[in-house]
């Protein structure tokens, strides 16, 4: 087994054995979908409500798992001295960070699969119209949001701060970007905030692929915006990411 596979396996073991991670990162979007799916019926924006919400919750999933969950986990490991200790071993940092990202993507993939399965089973949601476009959109989004997770982790200074900061960003962003329901009736200034956030464009890509069957290339500006957020995030992370706990002495 390669070192990468060894580390990925260890990261998966750690994720699923942690009750906090399994519940708040993996299960929470699924639970929200079960709730919202029971509340909305009929159609939203010309699509069956369950299908529309399913896409919204995939968007919440990427923000909650690849971005928020990853940021919290990195801050906790950094402040616990775990990253620093790993840094003293011969494990190459790119192998470690690669395994962390891959593990996060795997959780997000399973979460999306669970959302689709629950949508089918309980609410009669549709299956994706365009699988390849959906998969490409999910990979692009997950990698970009993981970059934002690294950048945010670099900006959070204490483990106590990690969860609150993440929640203050993730929940409003998901709400404004239309993860939990249509935003057309929102006041203009709220819509203007959503216009600069990456989640709105990720949702556009996933909706187009999932509901309308569009090819991913049909929406180049949304791709560009998500990719740009990701690129800036990785640049910030490359400059600011730290392995050692923040020195507060």
């Amino acid at each position: 087994m390669s070192l990468f596979a060894h580390q990925l396996r260890a990261e998966q073991k750690l994720f699923w054995r942690s009750r906090e991670a399994a519940i708040f990162v993996f299960l929470f979007p699924v639970m929200l979908f079960l709730l919202l799916g029971a509340v909305y019926s009929d159609e939203i924006e010309g699509h069956p409500a369950a299908s529309w919400l399913l896409v919204g919750l995939i968007g919440y999933g990427v923000a909650n798992t690849a971005f928020g969950g990853l940021a919290i986990f990195l801050v906790l490991r950094r402040e616990a001295g775990i990253l620093k200790r790993l840094r003293s071993t011969p494990l190459p940092s790119e192998v470690y960070l690669g395994a962390v990202v891959a593990s996060t993507l795997l959780v997000f993939a399973l979460q999306t699969a669970a959302l689709i399965a629950i949508g089918r089973l309980f609410y009669g949601a549709e299956l994706p119209e365009n699988w390849p476009a959906l998969v490409l959109a999910l990979i692009l989004g997950a990698i970009a949001f993981a970059g934002m997770g690294f950048a945010l982790a670099a900006l959070i200074r204490s483990s106590e701060g990690a969860s609150p900061v993440v929640n203050v960003i993730v929940l409003p962003m998901a709400f404004l970007s239309g993860s939990f329901g249509p935003t057309r009736e929102y006041p203009a200034f709220l819509q203007a905030v959503a216009d600069v956030l990456p989640l709105k464009y990720f949702l556009e890509l996933v909706r187009a692929a999932y509901l309308d069957g569009d090819a991913i290339w049909d929406n180049p500006s949304a791709i560009a915006i998500v990719a740009a957020w990701g690129a800036v995030a990785y640049a910030v992370a490359a400059r600011r990411f730290r392995w050692a706990p923040v020195d507060r002495s």
Binding site: A10, K13, R17, A80, I82, R85, R87, S88, T89, P90
Partner: protein
């Protein structure tokens, strides 16, 4: 004996403040070397430069022949680091964490043998979150040893231990020494340095103010103190000939039919010397 660590003219400043101001020392292969000093003396900065965590501003550093600032995997394969603050993976068992770390090395120690070495064989299949504080520190040590390093860094290894746990940790450090490992340990406890270290360096304000064996630091054959009480007054006699001085003192007391209350003969401890060294700096 060859040198495991060679440091010359080491300097490091943070934002204009010099934390390390020209430090020179050598650690021989197979010795236990202690770095003592109050907080802010530059111990941690020095050790972190040797571990490869920080870059130096000036000076030369060779650790096992490597420049630690280059961060080569071949260098990291030969050191073991026990940080002052590091938590285990709470949801892995003792054995699983050792196996996880062992895989990072080309020539690791046997996992079960390492678990035994740090005395955790009864806890091998217990999740780390169920361990006591002392057991967690032993897990830290085991993870630092599983790569079979030649040089081990121990940063205040017994801080917060109860006396029994400290004795046990000391035994373990002695057993590492007998395996031929070189050990650099920082500590606040002078008795710990005296018990464990072949040589110690005392740092103050970014400089090494004294270096040598604990005995040499205490002054070797130098003065002993004889203390007793006379009419409620503490009397201290400092002498280089304690046998003669004590004989004269007791003979005189016997002749007068007096008792020497609370009679005590002692050599200055490393702690006395250390505190005196730090006082010198102040003046």
């Amino acid at each position: 004996m060859s040198a495991a660590v060679e440091v010359a003219g080491l300097r490091k400043a943070y934002g204009g403040i010099e934390a390390v101001r020209g430090v020179d020392f050598e650690i021989r292969s197979g010795e236990v070397f202690g770095l003592l000093g109050p907080n802010g003396a530059g111990k941690t900065t020095t050790v972190e430069i040797l571990e490869g965590y920080r870059e130096r501003d000036a000076g030369t550093v060779a650790v096992l022949g490597f420049d630690p600032a280059r961060g080569e995997a071949a260098f990291r394969a030969r050191i073991g680091v026990v940080l002052q603050i590091s938590e285990p993976f709470y949801n892995l068992t003792v054995r699983e964490q050792h196996a996880m770390f062992a895989r990072y090395y080309e020539h690791p120690r046997d996992v079960d043998e390492t678990v035994r070495l740090v005395g955790l064989e009864e806890k091998a299949n217990a999740l780390a979150k169920t361990l006591s504080g002392g057991q967690k520190r032993r897990l830290d040590l085991g993870l630092a040893l599983v790569g079979d390093p030649d040089l081990i860094f121990l940063d205040e290894p017994t801080t917060g231990f109860d006396p029994a746990a400290r004795r046990a940790a000391w035994e373990m450090i002695r057993s590492l020494r007998s395996l031929g490992k070189t050990i650099l340990l920082t500590t606040h406890y002078l008795d710990e340095a005296q018990e464990l270290c072949d040589r110690v360096a005392v740092m103050r304000d970014g400089e090494i103010v004294r270096i040598g064996t604990p005995d040499a630091l205490r002054g070797g054959e130098a003065e002993a103190e004889i203390r007793y009480r006379r009419d409620g007054e503490q009397v201290v006699v400092r002498t280089r000939e304690p046998t003669r001085a004590l004989h004269e003192l007791t003979a005189a007391a016997l002749a007068d039919g007096r008792e020497l209350d609370e009679l005590e003969v002692r050599r200055p401890s490393l702690e006395d010397v250390y505190l005196a060294l730090l006082d010198e700096d102040e003046s």
